[in-house]
């Protein structure tokens, strides 16, 4: 038995049937081919599968695909804007904030969610917030520094990494 769902992912609407037991991360990876969302533990401990659901950071292994019905999901593939990397993505590249890259999409999504709420986090705030995610390679120093480096745009006071406008993402 399957359920019909309609889920907007990175600005595009997807309609299809999912098994009741299918996790959101499985729907994204296996049905949509959005393989940037990774599975590191499938029990909500590592954060590699972090995505935004209606703008809120969610571990997509802890949500059933049917629970995303009618909602808007943003994955790592949807952060690029106008063909250009998002400032958080750019900061991770420039700051050597990754090694094997497996945790990276989750960290970028978590950092993006933090900066959207709090454009100028202190190191303590960054460390508290990103403790939702695990990295086995980096020791976190360069990740924390990269997040710090994104900072606020002095002209507008707005964080350059705020949630993308609707339809402004390219899957």
């Amino acid at each position: 038995m399957t359920h019909s769902v309609r889920i907007t992912v990175n600005g595009e609407a997807y309609e299809g049937d999912v098994e009741p037991r299918a996790l959101l991360v499985q729907f994204l990876r296996e049905q949509l081919g959005l393989t940037g969302t990774h599975v590191g533990c499938v029990v909500g401990e590592c954060g590699a599968c972090s995505v935004l659901v209606d703008g809120v950071l969610v571990k997509s292994c802890l949500m059933l695909a049917v629970q995303a019905n009618g909602r808007e999901v943003t994955t790592i593939e949807g952060l690029r804007r106008g063909g250009r990397p998002h400032p958080v993505q750019e900061a991770f590249v420039n700051g050597f904030a990754l090694q094997c890259g497996f945790c990276t999409p989750g960290f970028v999504m978590a950092a993006h969610a933090l900066l959207a709420r709090n454009p100028n986090p202190t190191e303590e705030e960054i460390r508290r917030d990103l403790s939702s995610n695990l990295c086995m390679c980096t020791g976190y120093v360069q990740i924390v520094e990269a997040v710090k480096s994104v900072g606020s745009d002095p002209g507008t006071g707005r964080h350059r990494g705020q949630t993308p406008e609707r339809g402004d993402s390219t899957p």
């Binding site: 401990e45 508290r128 390679c137």
Partner: protein
């Protein structure tokens, strides 16, 4: 290229790998999908120790969507067992080991059967329909119980659970103890842990008629390549390694079981088969760093000089003989740490238990050896009433001794151990902290300063040091290749001989090629993932052993130099000038301005790589006589010390590794007297990684390996129940550190170039995981000095620290 004209080497050149990973475009095994692909699942032992009475696939084979089931009987019938490799150098009795358990299970999670179905849920559902009957046996979870005379045997063939006993001895240890003023002794211990790579094991096998292709996230492809070739008896094997989500040693060895099972399933079903391990499977069965217990005696003089060590090492190797002696033999790599001590005897016992088999992990054996030395330096200082730094200084190899040959045969090219200590003490403010401690206050603050080596570049024959008369030498020394190619359009592509799992090999190798060929790194790219059919690989093809900096850098540099020669030859011919008048810069070959000031009238003064590419691949008429078409070269690199000292001599002396970075670590910690919780207030590293190719990459390796060593020291680890059940199946239970527990690590570089490597480089990988457990132990002991507590064992969980304060000393 000489060391002085590097433009990109030494700079934190932008990462080559990062852009794909931050956009979700990395390609890991689980991201790959093939037509008609089946999904496999592994049935695992629920018991720590049991006989397999029967295993029946009948019900599962008829379940919805199921295409194949493999039982132990199938594995015995259709495959040959693994050959004991160098990891089991101490194994004296042949013990066949297959991809699944056969006859018996020896640890919880040991693979017993595999099922493949058209979807992963169907495969997982069908697991429950494989009927296995077990006859439980007593579970043995401690080395004491395993070594007891009446203990149940884990391998009947061996007649004992103490599967190996042996020793290495260098210098005259008895004489050292005879002339000692006193003997300082301690019983030390390190627990089971792992680096828990975030991507668990993954295999995808495509059994096409011409050959079988395995996509696998292995670190040492040779291991799975040979496993499949031998187990299935086929030579049409190709192994491809795409992006790998962390390795740290975990993905070297036990992954071969799953490669063989997945391959067998693909052959049996005639379809591509994907198997993806889940987290709890990885925690219980993918391999652990072994528990190690050391009884140590140090022969010392009253002035703090250490004359010799005697060490009795007991390694709990778990429920497999396949890695029987690797934790012992890896201690040969830093057997004397940074000290000039000449006499040492290391006795080893490898004891089987009903726990997960042991595998390499971030420094394997070397963290234990560093822990022994650095704990003993503190113990000697306490016993003699000396300053612990002064005791270390008294025993360090001094600068005038380099190149220094250790008593067991390692040649350390360069270093500045006193300088590392000086800087670490200064950076952490050692004198001020000591002064504050003397003024007295209620806070339990402690400082620990240690020093350690980061050996690099493995000798494949090292393990034979405990078995010098072996007739099955598993390869010796080290050889590794690389290919560099200027494409027809003038861009540059290189192919490395070994895979990577997150150490920025593409970035670093591109910097080497950029400097040799005079072309910016953004016009250079790696040809793709590792591929056994295309990558030029030798015995050193391994994302382990800290091999990359030595072998792969040497190889890619050599290949680029050969291409450079071809470029100069072709350009000199086309520009009609002597090649000595030419220089390469920004992808253009031109005359050195001072070389031939008046020759430009004869023709164009420059030629681009793209123009050279078009001619080299497409216009034979313009090539000089005898010039081989194309602009491509492959080079296989070795190391001067790989010969003739690569084979162990009769005394077991062997050049275990070839380069030796070093670092001093200083930890400042505070212990909560109420809870026993340890907080790291500051963590300072001064590191000698030789010539750095990309300092930010080196920093990343140091940060990561230090963070892991600190986390290990403070509590992450595997815990078993008395029944052999693993109690730490999740990352939360296991205690992996997050951003909250991991300190902000401070690094200063103090590079001393290595005299024997291509650019003076030394290893920069797992190094900081080697001294960091010892640094934390030293600092916690210092913090607990009001209680007179001695830190002898890891991990320093709040419970253990509280007990050190209040119960046991």
């Amino acid at each position: 290229m000489t060391r002085s004209d590097s433009r990109y080497v030494g700079a934190s050149v932008r990462s080559k790998e990062a852009p794909r990973h931050v956009t979700g475009r990395g390609r890991f095994v689980d991201d790959l999908v093939l037509p008609r692909m089946l999904h496999a699942f592994v049935l695992r032992s629920p018991y720590a120790h049991a006989r397999i009475v029967s295993a029946n696939a009948g019900r599962a084979a008829h379940a919805t969507g199921v295409y194949g089931v493999i039982t132990p009987d199938d594995v015995v019938r259709l495959t040959t067992p693994f050959k004991p490799g160098r990891y089991a150098a101490g194994l004296r009795v042949p013990v066949p080991e297959y991809a699944t358990a056969v006859g018996k299970v020896r640890y919880v999670g040991e693979p017993v059967a595999m099922v493949a179905a058209s979807s992963r849920p169907e495969a997982e559902d069908a697991l429950e329909l494989i009927d296995v009957e077990y006859e439980p046996l007593p579970a043995i979870v401690t080395t004491e119980a395993a070594a007891a005379p009446d203990a149940t045997l884990i391998y009947d063939e061996l007649g004992t659970n103490v599967a190996w006993q042996g020793h290495v001895s260098f210098g005259d240890v008895d004489a050292a103890f005879a002339r000692a003023d006193r003997v300082v002794s301690a019983n030390l211990g390190i627990h089971r842990y792992s680096s828990t790579p975030l991507e668990p094991f993954a295999c995808l096998v495509d059994p096409t008629p011409e050959r079988l292709t395995l996509y696998c996230n292995c670190q040492n492809p040779e291991v799975v390549y040979e496993a499949i070739t031998e187990a299935l008896g086929i030579d049409g094997v190709r192994v491809a390694v795409p992006d790998v989500g962390g390795g740290f040693g975990q993905k070297i060895h036990l992954i071969r079981k799953y490669a063989v099972l997945t391959a067998l399933m693909a052959v049996q079903t005639g379809r591509p088969v994907k198997w993806i391990e889940d987290r709890s499977e990885h925690m219980m069965a993918a391999g652990h760093s072994c528990d190690q217990e050391f009884d140590v005696e140090a022969a010392v003089r009253n002035d703090g000089e250490v004359l010799g060590l005697r060490i009795a090492d007991t390694d709990d190797v778990g429920g497999s003989v396949s890695t029987l002696t690797i934790h012992f033999t890896n201690k040969l790599n830093n057997l004397f740490n940074t000290y000039r001590v000449q006499n040492l005897r290391l006795e080893g016992r490898s004891v089987l238990t009903n726990k997960c088999p042991v595998v390499p992990n971030r420094g394997i054996g070397k963290p234990g050896m560093c822990f022994i030395w650095e704990r003993m330096m503190d113990a000697v200082a306490q016993e003699l009433g000396l300053d612990p730094i002064a005791v270390r200084r008294r025993n360090l190899v001094t600068q005038d001794q380099f190149p220094y040959t250790t008593p067991n045969g390692n040649i350390i090219g360069s270093g500045d151990y006193q300088g590392l200590l000086d800087r670490a003490l200064k950076n952490i403010g050692y004198e001020d902290i000591r002064a504050q401690q003397k003024t007295g206050n209620d806070r339990l603050i402690g400082i620990g300063v240690v020093i350690g080596l980061e050996p690099g570049g493995r000798n494949a024959a090292r393990d034979m040091a405990i078995f010098p008369k072996s007739k099955q030498m598993p390869g010796a020394g080290g050889v590794e290749g690389a290919t560099v190619k200027i494409e027809k359009n003038g861009s540059v592509v290189f192919t490395l001989g070994a895979p990577s799992c997150g150490q920025s090999h593409e970035t670093t190798a591109a910097q080497i090629v950029a400097d040799v060929l005079g072309i910016p790194p953004d016009r250079i790219s790696a040809s793709g993932g590792w591929d056994s059919s295309l990558s030029p690989w030798g015995v050193s093809c391994a994302n382990s052993g800290n091999n990359f900096h030595l072998y792969d850098i040497g190889a890619v540099h050599g290949a680029a130099m050969r291409v450079r020669e071809k470029v100069l030859t072709l350009a000199a011919h086309l520009l009609k000038v002597d090649r000595s008048a030419l220089d390469l810069r920004d992808g253009i070959v031109g005359r050195v301005p001072s070389a031939a000031p008046n020759s430009s009238a004869d023709g164009p003064a420059t030629i681009t790589f793209a123009e050279l590419g078009k001619i080299a691949y497409a216009n034979q008429a313009l090539l000089p006589e005898g010039f081989e078409g194309g602009l491509e070269a492959t080079y296989y690199h070795s190391h001067p010390h790989a010969d003739p000292g690569m084979l162990p001599d009769e005394t077991g002396r062997v050049r275990a590794q070839y380069t030796f970075g070093s670092a001093a670590h200083a930890a400042l910690v505070e212990v909560d007297p109420g809870t026993g919780r340890v907080k790291v207030l500051r963590y300072v590293i001064v590191s000698d990684n030789g010539t750095m190719i990309n300092p930010s990459v080196v920093d990343g390796q140091i940060y990561g390996s230090a963070a892991h060593g600190i986390s290990v020291a403070l509590g992450e680890g595997f815990v078993y129940g008395d029944d052999g059940q693993l109690l730490t199946l999740t990352l939360l239970d296991y205690g992996k550190s997050t951003t909250l527990e991991t300190p902000r690590i401070e690094i200063e570089h103090h590079p001393v170039p290595d005299p024997y490597t291509t650019l003076g480089q030394k290893a920069a990988g797992e190094g900081a995981a080697i001294p960091s457990p010892a640094a934390i132990a030293s600092a916690v002991e210092n913090a607990l000095s009001p209680f007179g507590a001695r830190v002898r064992r890891l991990p320093l969980t709040p419970e253990r620290v509280w007990n050190l304060m209040h119960v046991s000393r």
